[in-house]
């Protein structure tokens, strides 16, 4: 037993396809304390879903250790199931059952007693804002409401931990905000541990801690604030009149740590704002490039993510190993 809600140590998961072996999770370690909202973020194919499924005991692991609430993922998966709510990425609620019938169905699966059902179901419907829709077929709900119903169903057996695999994929901003506010309420009112996979950086900001997964390994594991502090230098943003020329020019300037593109704008990381801002302005002017609104902006999780992945790739290349998934990233410069 350990004190962690979720724990993985040197976790490895290999899939054998024909004669080749694909390592989806490659020596991943993480610990989630009770009450945390932990976000596992990373590109497609980095190993997010596999990590979640192995931890839940839905897939066997190749090596390493993993547990939920102190229960081993492989040996005690039924104990885990009693205590964990899970929403899979491509979940489907029976579409021909109504909202209420879905709740009863999931209550039955989890052997929730009828007294408990009478108490829990109205509470959960109220929580999810579905009290007025109990008679509606699940198949006729909007995308956002389906997600909320799935969350309510996953909570029917009063789990201590919920694991959500990209729960807001394809959901509009209003419903997405509502969904995350529900998760916040679960944390504030019930102290639930929430483990969520997402490719969206603005959602990572809503977690208490974030693990950045890449090629099956965690390359960073910290609070959003600390992750942003890991990024060296300061961030300048501007819109140049000649994008390609300005990008080449800035990349070569002294004191410029990194250049990222942002639509028609450039993001330039510099060691010192005051001196480099003047320097960039002068350099652009000397080449006849005009610019709009050169100013310092705050680093968000998205910029941090891009910088950290690049740093990781460069360190892998320095070691002489070929990055397995370099094709995902291509030449970002």
């Amino acid at each position: 037993m350990n004190q962690f809600a979720i724990s993985a140590t040197n976790l490895v998961k290999e899939f054998k396809a024909n004669k080749s072996v694909v390592t989806a999770v490659n020596g991943l370690s993480l610990q989630v304390a009770p009450g945390e909202t932990y976000g596992l973020i990373g590109p497609d194919g980095a190993g997010k879903t596999t990590t979640m499924r192995v931890t839940l005991g839905l897939l066997s692991r190749t090596s390493g250790e993993s547990s939920v609430l102190g229960f081993d993922s492989m040996n005690d998966m039924y104990e885990i199931r009693k205590r964990v709510g899970y929403i899979a990425q491509q979940f489907s609620l029976p579409p021909t059952l109504t909202v209420m019938e879905n709740m009863l169905f999931f209550a039955g699966i989890h052997s929730v007693s009828s007294e408990q059902q009478k108490k829990r179901i109205p509470e959960l419907l109220e929580f999810a804002g579905l009290s007025d829709f109990t008679g509606r077929l699940a198949g006729k709900l909007s995308g956002g409401m389906k997600k909320k119903l799935a969350l309510a169903c996953s909570l029917i057996h009063e789990p201590q931990v919920v694991m959500l695999d990209e729960p807001t994929l394809g959901v509009d901003p209003v419903s997405r905000r509502e969904f995350w506010n529900l998760l916040g309420n679960l944390r504030a009112e019930k102290g639930l541990t929430i483990f969520v996979c997402t490719p969206y950086m603005d959602e990572a900001e809503r977690c208490t801690r974030v693990g950045l997964i890449y090629d099956g390994k965690l390359i960073v594991d910290d609070s959003p604030a600390n992750i942003k502090r890991l990024i060296p230098g300061h961030l300048l943003e501007f819109t140049p009149s000649d994008f390609d020329a300005a990008r080449k020019l800035c990349t070569a300037l002294e004191g410029v740590l990194e250049v990222q593109t942002y639509g028609e704008k450039l993001h330039v990381f510099v060691d010192d704002v005051a001196t480099r801002k003047t320097q960039i302005e002068a350099a652009l002017t000397s080449r006849g490039i005009t610019q709009d609104r050169l100013r310092e902006i705050e680093v968000r999780m998205e910029e941090a993510f891009i910088t950290l992945i690049r740093q990781h790739q460069e360190s892998v290349e320095l070691k002489g190993a070929l990055p397995q998934k370099s094709e995902i990233l291509g030449d970002v410069r």
């Binding site: 194919g45 504030a188 603005d202 028609e264 995902i328 990233l329």
Partner: protein, 326 residues
């Protein structure tokens, strides 16, 4: 600039919509919407599910006819000159509609063939698009085994194989990682610099920030249309307060109680990681009142400050209760 572009309903614009309305039975999907997009602009068309985004695009593409009003693409009436419109537009949806069992090159050739390109043109476009999408060395890879970012760029290439002047991108980046998304947006702006007009829909507001102008549609009605920076100034009801406290979970409970008792005019209180974001309707002075409430609840307030709203904050605010236009 915005007021002018709203009133100048120039049907010669690459995209122009005038009093466009579409009813399905008693349901009004698009309700008297007017806007136009000048050449070379990257225009974000945003709204919740079911707000009328796709219906608008389908009328612009001439796939469905408006109940009233008009849609024009490059001066052609979408309802009556559909063939001319189709020759002018490229369309890419989130499903990418590529053939997975064809190679990258074969997909480009297929779409080029559909658009009636000659074999010389095809040869030239294949090499241009392979280069644009960064697919050199992967020309003969089966599309099904390309990763998300590559497929996305290939799909864009196929959508513009016939050099359209106007491109519609309907949620083109769903499920693609941030680095690939940045590359994709570079391509969008490359096209725009060449004079192509781009209308893009997305659910991701961090991405919408990349558009030069955005229109918000809600329940069929255009509720806001302007540059991102201008919308942040004009469309936000209330202001966003970022609060760092010793016990955020408890602090949220206290603030929600204060919201329900109408102690302070709070539109929204939510946990953001270790912080709290509160949308306050009203004056700056409420900052002190909120701090006081927290202190009385034995919460240690480490910092409390007004922050700039994100486009998502503005969007939700506009959709909930639109600030009247004009």
């Amino acid at each position: 600039m915005s007021a002018e572009s709203l009133t100048t309903q120039n049907q010669e614009s690459p995209i122009s919509v005038q009093n466009l309305t579409k009813r399905f039975g008693t349901f009004t999907a698009v309700d008297d919407v007017s806007f136009s997009v000048p050449a070379g602009e990257v225009f974000g068309w945003l709204g919740p599910n079911g707000a009328g985004k796709t219906t608008t695009i389908r009328m612009l593409l001439g796939l469905i006819k408006p109940t009233s009003g008009h849609a024009f693409v490059s001066g052609f009436n979408s309802a009556t000159q559909t063939k001319s419109v189709h020759a002018q537009v490229g369309y890419m949806s989130q499903q990418f509609t590529l053939y997975n069992d064809l190679t990258a090159t074969q997909n480009i050739r297929f779409y080029g063939g559909v658009h009636g390109l000659s074999s010389d043109e095809l040869r030239q476009r294949v090499s241009e698009i392979i280069q644009m999408a960064g697919l050199e060395g992967r020309e003969n890879t089966l599309t099904g085994s390309l990763s998300g970012g590559w497929k996305q760029r290939l799909a864009l290439g196929c959508a513009i194989v016939h050099h359209p002047k106007v491109v519609f991108l309907d949620e083109p980046t769903a499920g693609v990682d941030p680095i690939s998304r940045r590359q994709f947006w570079e391509l969008i702006y490359q096209m725009a610099k060449e004079g192509v007009t781009v209308l893009v829909t997305t659910h991701y507001m961090d991405e919408a920030e990349l558009c030069q102008r955005v229109g918000f549609i809600s329940a069929g009605r255009l509720v806001a249309l302007d540059s991102v920076s201008q919308l942040k100034r004009t469309q936000m009801r209330g202001q966003v307060l970022e609060i760092n406290v010793s016990d955020p979970e408890k602090a949220v409970r206290i603030l929600k109680a204060a919201q329900q008792n109408h102690q302070v005019p709070l539109d929204e209180v939510a946990l953001y990681g270790a912080q709290i974001h509160a949308v306050v309707l009203g004056d700056q002075e409420y900052k002190n009142a909120i701090q006081q409430i927290l202190v009385e609840g034995n919460i240690q307030v480490n910092s409390i400050a007004w922050i700039a709203p994100t486009l998502e904050d503005v969007f939700i605010s506009s959709v909930k209760a639109p600030v009247e236009m004009n």
